[in-house]
């Protein structure tokens, strides 16, 4: 395709920021204008991201829409943006979900409306920036910038225990980030020592030679930071609190995009930078992922609170993502990436629905509902479809992802596949039980009898969710074809690099044993 002269990625990053800054100058009395303006900005952003899909050349491996400018040349920090097929799809997911979030906050947010939308647009900038950055410093800046608006969303517009949840969220992610920062600097100096150049350019660092023993520590630091974000068992406990207390849109964006930053971090940084360590970590990560799948499902089943239930189901679903990723084959990896998108759509959809119920009843307790299909038949249809997507019924998006992940896991290690597939049964148990308790039976509570069914705005929101559930389930090719080459290239690169390390330093397992022995001697 040649050079794409228009700096589209920068535009995508800064349009929401510009919107947020503009909103600063709008008087807070104009609530509707503020909402409308935020909606327009998010729609423009979504519209701007669509050409990415069409102009993205799916036949080449490298980064596209690259923008590079020296920033602090003496330190090797560059303003370096670019995307491949993996980040492309996640960017589209982000811009799509942001529109839904603005729409669903329309009535839900009554206080500090102006600040709310400013925060939200700011968050979008940070998310897109994180997905586009190919310079470690730039990435780290955007990564940390995501924290602040999310912290505010939970802490300011959240539920009764919002302060606890917000601080917990902040501390958890900070703890991981600090370690990552340290690892970034070590990597930086390591590269300098080997080559004599200072650079934070990821693509250059990919080819750095890092002694395997050191890789383990660096990988561990990156992996911990990302694992907290995913979140993987056992560092998942911030998630249920954050989800429960966050406003609906916060939950949607948290589940839909922020968690994916963890899994994306593995793909973009932790694995390709430290391939030998990543390969050595396969058993640990896979087992933690499996525990996450099963444990998340079982704990989810017992939750009395809808949002907590969905939060634990996220733990389970993200377990699939990690399991597929560390299968290191095409099926597992493509399934894993697809599952990231699926989870954004279907869990986002679930949170939207719970939000709609919350707006009407001001409760999220399953026990407060029951028999809602009678007063709210339209909601029942949407809820059912999103539930089916979440339990990965064939024909919905969830199936494509889960099937490929489990197939890939099975291919890589039969036992992992066998254990992971139990999630298929458990998923049906907790989702259908929840659905039954909320929607079926007689209406037992007086307050539920007169519930008003969905309005036009809500139907529009859920229609767009269902549209993607079906489209991604029936014709996944339009998404796969954009990532096929990138994923293939990624796998090839990682395998080659791993082989290189194995050739130069011997089998990774042996090295692990050596490093373990050292302190003992």
């Amino acid at each position: 395709m040649g050079a794409f002269c228009f700096p589209i990625l920068s535009v995508l990053i800064y349009v929401p920021l510009l919107g947020a800054v503009t909103l600063l100058f709008v008087r807070r009395e104009h609530g509707t204008y503020i909402k409308g303006f935020a909606l327009v900005i998010s729609l423009i952003e979504f519209a701007l991201s669509i050409p990415l899909y069409f102009y993205f050349n799916e036949k080449t491996v490298g980064m596209q829409f690259v923008e590079r400018a020296a920033w602090f040349p003496e330190w090797g920090i560059t303003y370096f943006l670019g995307i491949d097929g993996i980040s492309l799809l996640l960017i589209l997911l982000t811009t799509f979900l942001t529109v839904l979030c603005v729409l669903c906050s329309w009535r839900a947010i009554e206080t500090k409306v102006k600040e709310y939308y400013i925060t939200f647009l700011f968050l979008e900038t940070a998310m897109i920036g994180t997905l586009c950055s190919l310079d470690l410093v730039l990435f780290y800046i955007f990564w940390e910038l995501m924290l602040i608006p999310m912290y505010l969303l939970i802490g300011v517009w959240g539920g009764p225990k919002r302060v606890y949840a917000a601080i917990k969220f902040f501390l958890f992610t900070m703890a991981g980030s600090v370690l990552m920062l340290l690892a970034i600097f070590i990597l930086y100096y390591q590269f300098y020592n080997a080559t004599g150049t200072y650079t934070f350019d990821v693509l250059q660092l990919y080819n750095a030679h890092i002694p395997v023993a050191k890789q383990y520590w660096l990988f561990a630091a990156f992996a911990l930071s990302f694992a907290i974000k995913v979140p993987m068992f056992p560092v998942h406990t911030w998630l249920p609190d954050a989800h429960t207390e966050a406003p609906t849109a916060g939950s949607v964006i948290l589940a839909g995009v922020l968690l994916k930053m963890g899994t994306y971090g593995f793909l973009r940084f932790a694995i390709p930078l430290f391939p030998a360590a990543a390969h050595a970590a396969i058993p640990i990560i896979s087992i933690l992922a499996l525990v996450g799948i099963i444990y998340g499902a079982i704990v989810s089943m017992m939750q009395p609170d809808l949002k907590r239930l969905i939060a634990f189901s996220s733990v389970s679903h993200l377990g699939y993502v990690m399991l597929g990723m560390f299968a290191f084959n095409m099926q597992g990896l493509e399934g894993s990436i697809y599952q990231m998108l699926n989870h954004g759509v279907s869990t986002g959809g679930l949170f939207l629905i719970v939000g709609m119920l919350y707006e009407r009843r001001h409760t999220r307790m399953i026990a407060d509902f029951g028999g809602l299909s009678t007063p709210m038949p339209i909601l029942a249809i949407f809820f059912m479809i999103v539930t089916l997507s979440s339990v990965a019924l064939p024909g919905t998006n969830g199936f494509v992802g889960e099937f490929l992940i489990l197939l890939g896991a099975f291919r890589a290690n039969m036992l992992f596949g066998i254990l992971g597939t139990t999630g298929v049964v458990l998923g049906a148990v907790y989702m259908f039980w929840m659905f039954q308790r909320v929607m079926f039976g007689e209406v037992k509570k007086e307050e539920n009898r007169k519930l008003i069914d969905l309005g036009k705005r809500e139907v529009l929101i859920l229609c767009s969710v269902v549209f993607f559930i079906v489209l991604m389930g029936v014709y996944p090719k339009i998404f796969f074809k954009k990532m096929d080459t990138s994923v293939e290239g990624f796998l090839k690169f990682v395998k080659e690099r791993n082989a290189y390390y194995v050739a130069s330093e011997g089998a990774p397992v042996k090295v692990v044993l050596d490093t373990l022995k050292k302190p003992a001697e």
Binding site: I298, V299, G395, F403, L406, R411, I418, V425, F440
Partner: protein
């Protein structure tokens, strides 16, 4: 026409979309016409293809058509593609033909239900999914239909979602099926990966069949076992049968269509479809037959003591499905499919008849409150009689031919299959008994209903009775497509299915004899093959005798001497209680699995997640806070001081790193 095989599932899909989106706004008549016409159109296409097949030589009767690539990832590729061959066309005919009659019947049965459009939307969706299941050309698309029909079953069992029992039953059906699907999925994985290891990456039936020899015997054994686990879920076999009796919570035509005629037979279809794999795994074939026959006798015995008219039929369905598995398990795939077809006629009819009875009795399902209905609802009665005779195996009726074929093939398979045959023959007698118990209890004797109910008893409208009559005719004549050679027939259905099954069946049983069953085989090898024809004749007479004995006992107990059963009940009260309560299987499962899972969940949530994990993390925070309170002594509140400390700290850390790196 064969180029348009996709039309077969397409029509119900269109019906589903129309009624799904517009159903609430359309008048009832339009909804019914859309739903029924969709099925009729599919039926016409199927019949057309059937007649096209007749004009082709048998080996050319296979058509495949890929519509588009569905999932592609690396070596993995699954298409949305269809395949029509004699096996799938028979399934299509059964599904659309019987399905159409049940749709028409539903127009009458569901007429006053407020969820009328929803009902037909689900029903069309079901037929669509079922047709995907039987016309798919690869295992993954079959799985789409497989889970899709499970979804529709869930939705239709819980159709009256305000009733807790209905929504519980729907959920149970889905989850138990998912347990089976767990096996199915692992089967797909194993097949794909082991075949892939030989360089063949495919899930297409034809491709698998061509390359099946690349699979080792042990791989084939594992794969077929895993697929069979899927079949035990969908087709309600031991130990996963428990959902089917509960599924009777759904509207009766649903029980007839989904839980008798079509969906539950999907497991049998799947085994028959993958016959080339099963034939490579004789041990699994034996397990299939064994599970089938044990299910047959086990659920037949439960059928003895049930009083709910639909429950009796449900256990009977479980039992008859067991027969079909005996058929495919002894390698008589054609006989299994033959029984599947005749069963669709007479069991579909029995359920519709039961629906007509329930309709007449103002919703009553308990047999003890019926009796003497034969004069009041004669059409229902006579059609029910035909169905009972057919299922009991009275010569000349459809069930006789198909059941006898299975029994004969089980016997002639010899070896350990003789045990299967003995059990199956006993179960046949039991079937005859409890079906006539049902018939006599419902239609004969004194009417035990309350006066008010009695007053309302009326025959169903034509829209319901005409499907009954058509099915009654089919229950009689449906067997004549498979008249065995010994009775001067040509067993045309077996011939027709020959291109799909070939000689696969015999081969497997041969293998069973050589493959480890020798010792048992020898013990049973008394009956030689020289006088095969006379043996077959003798067995046929024997099974007729067994059927009549069953019917006669029912007659003695429930017509001649109605006090006798009560005496039995008091005499063997313990046994009766066990059978009446279905051997407490549901209760045992409830304690072991449901309570077990809930208990585990509670421990994990309340103790492990909230105390161990979250608690340990919060205690880290608490320790830090304590350290912080010590450090507070250092705090003076001057920002400059903090900034200075931070810079010094950062310099130390970075400096250390720089030095180390150098």
């Amino acid at each position: 026409m064969v180029d348009y095989i996709w039309l077969i599932p397409a029509f119900p899909a269109v019906g589903f979309l129309i009624n799904g989106f517009l159903g609430k706004k359309l008048p009832k008549a339009v909804v019914s016409w859309v739903a029924c016409l969709a099925l009729f159109a599919s039926f016409v296409v199927s019949v057309t293809i059937l007649f096209q097949f007749f004009q082709l030589p048998p080996e050319e009767r296979i058509f495949e058509r890929d519509i588009f690539n569905w999932i592609t990832a690396g070596e993995f590729n699954a298409t949305v593609g269809f395949r029509i061959d004699p096996l799938s066309i028979i399934m299509c005919l059964v599904v659309t033909g019987v399905g159409f009659l049940i749709h028409v019947y539903s127009v009458g049965y569901m007429h006053d239900d407020e969820g009328y459009p929803r009902y037909f939307t689900y029903l069309n969706l079901f037929v669509f999914m079922m047709l995907i299941l039987v016309t798919a050309n690869n295992i993954l698309l079959m799985f789409v239909g497989w889970e899709g029909v499970g979804l529709c079953s869930y939705l239709l069992i819980g159709f009256w979602f305000r009733k807790d029992s209905a929504s519980n039953a729907g959920k149970k059906a889905f989850i138990v099926n998912r347990i089976g699907d767990y096996g199915f999925l692992l089967g797909i994985f194993t097949l794909f990966v082991t075949l892939g290891a030989q360089g063949v990456w495919t899930l297409n039936y034809g491709e698998i069949q061509k390359n099946a020899h690349l699979l080792g015997a042990s791989a084939a054994t594992l794969i077929t076992l895993l697929f069979f686990i899927g079949a035990t879920g969908k087709s309600a076999q031991l130990p996963l049968y428990v959902w089917l009796p509960d599924a009777m919570e759904g509207p009766t035509p649903v029980s007839s269509l989904i839980h008798a005629a079509t969906m539950v037979t999907a497991g049998v279809y799947m085994v028959a479809r993958l016959n080339f794999l099963y034939s490579m795994a004789p041990q699994i074939m034996f397990i299939v037959a064994l599970v089938g026959v044990l299910t047959a006798i086990f659920s037949a015995s439960i059928g003895f003591a049930q009083n709910d008219i639909k429950r009796v039929l449900a256990y009977s369905t479980v039992s008859q499905l067991g027969y079909m598995f005996v058929g495919v398990g002894v390698g008589a795939y054609a006989a299994g499919i033959f029984h599947l077809m005749t069963h669709a006629f007479f069991k579909g009819l029995l359920f519709l008849g039961a629906g007509s009875v329930i309709h007449a009795m103002s919703g009553e399902q308990d047999m003890r409150k019926m009796g003497g209905l034969r004069k009041k609802i004669p059409i229902t009665y006579w059609t029910f009689v035909f169905a009972c005779i057919a299922i009991a195996g009275v010569p000349g009726f459809s069930g006789f031919f198909s059941k006898d074929e299975i029994l004969w093939r089980a016997f002639s398979a010899g070896g350990p299959y003789r045990i299967v045959w003995v059990i199956a023959a006993v179960a046949a007698g039991m079937t005859a008994f409890y079906m006539f118990r049902l018939l006599f209890g419902t239609f004969h004797g004194e009417c035990r209903a309350s006066e008010e109910v009695k007053h309302h008893i009326h025959e169903s409208p034509k829209v319901m009775t005409i499907p009954l009559m058509i099915l009654a005719v089919l229950s009689v004549i449906g067997g004549y497509v498979g008249v065995p050679h010994i009775l001067g027939g040509a067993n045309r259905i077996e011939q027709f299915l020959e291109p799909v099954f070939g000689g696969a069946g015999e081969h497997a049983v041969e293998a069973a004899h050589t493959g480890g069953w020798n010792i048992i085989s020898k013990a049973f090898a008394s009956a030689g093959g020289t006088e095969e024809a006379s043996v077959e004749m003798t067995l046929m007479v024997l099974s007729v005798v067994i059927a009549f004995i069953g019917i006669y006992i029912a007659y003695r107990l429930y017509i001649k001497n109605p006090e006798l059963p009560k005496r039995f009940v008091t005499r063997f009260s313990g046994l009766h209680r066990a059978v009446y309560n279905k051997y407490f299987v549901d209760e045992i499962y409830g304690v072991v699995f449901v309570r077990g899972l809930l208990g585990l969940g509670t421990v994990m949530k309340n103790f492990f997640d909230e105390i161990v994990i979250d608690g340990s993390i919060n205690s880290v925070a608490a320790i830090l806070r304590w350290c912080g309170s010590l450090l507070r002594l250092l705090q003076a509140g001057y920002v400059q001081g903090y900034a200075f400390a931070m810079i010094v700290g950062a310099i130390i850390v970075i400096g250390y790193l720089v030095v180390r790196m150098m």
